[in-house]
Symmetry: C2
Subunit: 233 residues, 2 copies
Amino acid sequence: MKLYEGKAKILETTDNKDVLIQLFKDDLTAFNAEKKDNREGKGALNNQTSSILFEYLQKEGIKTHFIKVIDNTKMMVQKVSIFKIEVVLRNVAAGSIVKRIGIQNGTTINPAILEFYYKDDALGDPLINQDHIRFLNLAKSEELEEISVIALKVNDLLKSFFIKRDLILVDLKLEFGRNTRGEILLADEISADTCRLWDAKTRESLDKDIFREDKGDVLTGYREVLKRLKTKR
Amino acid sequence: MKLYEGKAKILETTDNKDVLIQLFKDDLTAFNAEKKDNREGKGALNNQTSSILFEYLQKEGIKTHFIKVIDNTKMMVQKVSIFKIEVVLRNVAAGSIVKRIGIQNGTTINPAILEFYYKDDALGDPLINQDHIRFLNLAKSEELEEISVIALKVNDLLKSFFIKRDLILVDLKLEFGRNTRGEILLADEISADTCRLWDAKTRESLDKDIFREDKGDVLTGYREVLKRLKTKR
């Protein structure tokens, strides 16, 4: 039974109340869904990419909602209650930060910048800080602290993982949830939809910026990312 | 000699290299100077209001750049190097936060929300967080910590000060600087230009929102604020 449908994924219930099916759709959206498309095969690419990345992170000790791959477009996940916070980590300046603080696209950011956005489509997912989060009751301060620590660790792990595959992790968006046992888990997806990934040599986008900025065939980029993840496991 | 001219004030040098004259102009600007006016007497009102508030804060142990009143529109201040950060404290929802996080104008915020904005007109003074401040080198993390502690204390002091005069301190913007001896001082001004102040009974604006939102004669509001500060010292 469908429990929830978002812009890019559907969550379905299973016989086990603590377990859900996460189905990756072929819909592509950008700029708070002002720009839309549907590309056959996109969901399958993101499901495979996310599965590989969740497996890697779990092996490295990160608790995620991922249980196993079911088929091309579906994975089995733990049911979590999602924090309405998008956690963004930036290793290279691209996208909104370029305009916000007036730095050049491509500038290295080290240590990474961590940002919180309020997951609220109607408000356009605004940047917020710890005090807004406390006021809005989006997470307790100790939960936010735990989320921040995990997010920075995930960023470090993925940054080195990707660079070994000649991919620069420019930035990534993470979402977290709490499972029925009270554990905070990395949830949602990790893919070329939610990370900016550049080819390490050409610095070409291999991620959703291809779609956002009409830079060519977005699936070619997503396929290239997946190929590099699969070639070197 | 004129050292610096901003939208609302001029800083002039004196014989003492550590001391400046701060002159309050009659110019009124809002929305990053997109809306402008000039009202004779505005500078004098802000100079007097700021002087009273700086004196009060100093008596309560807050280090400020204020030395003494010189005349109607001028005060003597310590020379500081200003941190390019606007520190905003919010006790009641009004202005930009209403749209940002989708709360109703007039909602009580307690404990106060503290926000940092990048003092950069060209960028429209964007909201930033600690990581942006570190990356942009606007303040060291221990300086930011000290600034935050002082800002919260200033907010508490002013909130009780104003309420005794039937004024609600809705929000306020503070700026800090470092003097030649290395001390962090509260600087700039504190007035109806930089605070939102509502009549405690009618909840009418007595601050720059009168000008921003064309709610009547802005100087009437500023004069009322000053009157209440002078009546009860």
